[in-house]
């Protein structure tokens, strides 16, 4: 019985082998698929399609995890680059603005050269206390700066030097309460004393104006040249309003300074006054 089974199996294997070898040799290459082959393919196609969709989605999910890591790294790199570019951009803008300011200052210097001997300087520090209005410049006695010298820029008068070191100088600004400036209205030549206002920070007022002095909003106030420090004709600021003083005899005018004291950077030190406004 067992042998019979073995024999049948042996015959089947040999027949199968021979059939297989014949078919293998004859069915190779390009040919039209038979019906059974097409059915087999058709049976598997929907399953393969479903599996491919699932695989693709899993792959996409996996890819998105990989992408997330890549994107995160890329994002960090771009952030760093962005920060660097912002820094460079801000530096360039700063240079551009500085260039414009220096150009204005140069033009100003050339214009004033016949009247004033100017020395360019840079503000390097501000007073640490907010109720003092003073700055430090990068020029000192080695550059010929001396106490009492006046500082200006192309907008107007800034203040005067109060103390000097070899390579720096301390400057009291005109908006400080201890730095009054003798001034006058440019058009009417009405004199007065310009000083810091007590009630509003960084603003000025002109006191001791005659009660009937013609004071108009927008009028330019310049230095009068009285006193030993400030030469005549330097721009101080513009009238924004006026009111009688408590004594009833004089009045005061409020002034918006010509100089923006919050943005002081490049300045000039007047080393020597060759001729004042209205002279020669």
């Amino acid at each position: 019985m067992f042998r019979m089974h073995e024999k049948k199996l042996g015959i089947a294997v040999v027949v199968g082998l021979l059939l297989g070898l014949v078919l293998l040799r004859t069915t190779g290459g390009e040919r039209e698929a038979t019906g059974i082959e097409r059915y087999t393919q058709a049976l598997l196609a929907p399953l393969q399609k479903g599996a491919t969709i699932v695989t693709d989605q899993i792959g996409a999910l996996g890819q998105s995890v990989v992408n997330y890591k890549q994107i995160k790294e890329e994002n960090e790199a771009l952030r760093r680059e962005n920060g660097e570019l912002r820094r460079l951009n801000s530096q360039l803008t700063q240079y551009q603005l500085e260039n414009l300011r220096l150009r204005d200052l140069l033009a100003f210097k050339q214009e004033k050269e016949k009247n004033l001997q100017l020395l360019g300087a840079r503000v390097i520090a501000r007073d640490p206390e907010s109720w003092f209005n003073a700055v430090t410049i990068d020029r000192g006695s080695e550059d010929g700066v001396a106490p009492g010298m006046v500082l200006i820029n192309n907008d107007g008068v800034i203040g005067h030097v109060t103390s000097v070191n070899p390579r720096s100088a301390h400057v009291l600004l005109i908006i400080d309460k201890e730095g009054p400036v003798p001034g006058m209205l440019q058009t009417t030549r009405e004199p007065g004393i310009v000083e810091a206002r007590n009630d509003v920070n960084s603003q000025l007022q002109m006191i001791h104006l005659r009660r009937d002095a013609a004071v108009q909003e927008g009028q330019l106030v310049i230095t009068s040249g009285l006193g030993a420090i400030y030469p005549r004709g330097l721009r101080i600021g513009y009238i924004t309003g006026s009111e009688p003083e408590p004594n009833g005899l004089t009045k005061r005018a409020m002034i918006r300074p010509a100089v923006d004291f919050q943005r002081l950077e490049e300045v000039f030190v007047i080393q020597k006054v060759i001729s004042q406004e209205g002279e020669g």
């Binding site: 082998l17 078919l23 069915t27 290459g29 087999t40």
Partner: protein, 167 residues
């Protein structure tokens, strides 16, 4: 019923083999799940029956590829028969046996496929054969421990009669 379960498993493996496995390709080779199913079945049911399972699985693949009918059926049948001969007296639950069987079976299958391919007129360079054979052997052997226990349990439970085990 048991043959149907085996066929469903085969279908499942063919679908995986043709859709998922190409995504885990290394050196142009991916695990051969169908071969693994055939070899593991042979280990469980013996060489003679394994030969029939191998021939059946191969024939299905032949029909699916619609070219070189006999290529898969003969190579799978031959592999099953030889593995059946080699592993007939071994204790199947020892993981080492299926490991060696899968490695050996993959090598045998590659060599048979090479020979049958040559016979049918398919030019397979020797270097391609060697690289594919080595990569696929490693791949299949590494994956085998993951598949063997589930297949063994499923076989015990669904498609192999107790008296046939290790026949």
């Amino acid at each position: 019923m048991r043959h149907l379960i085996w066929a469903v498993l085969l279908l499942f493996n063919i679908v995986l083999q043709t859709t998922v496995m190409p995504h885990v390709e290394i050196y142009g080779t991916h695990p051969n799940l169908i071969l693994m199913q055939v070899i593991l079945t042979t280990l469980l049911v013996g060489g003679q029956r394994g030969l029939l399972y191998g021939a059946g699985a191969g024939l299905f693949l032949d029909l699916l590829s619609a070219r070189y009918i006999g290529f898969h059926s003969l190579s799978f049948a031959g592999t099953s028969w030889l593995i059946g001969l080699l592993a007939s007296r071994l204790y199947k639950e020892n993981l080492f046996v299926p490991l060696i069987s899968i490695a050996t079976g993959t090598v045998i299958h590659s060599l048979l496929a090479f020979a049958l391919g040559r016979y049918a007129g398919i030019e397979i360079p020797l270097t391609t054969l060697l690289l594919t054979m080595i990569a696929e052997t490693i791949y299949n052997t590494v994956l085998m421990p993951l598949l063997y226990k589930p297949i063994y349990r499923a076989a015990n439970r669904w498609w192999i009669r107790k008296e046939e085990l290790g026949a």
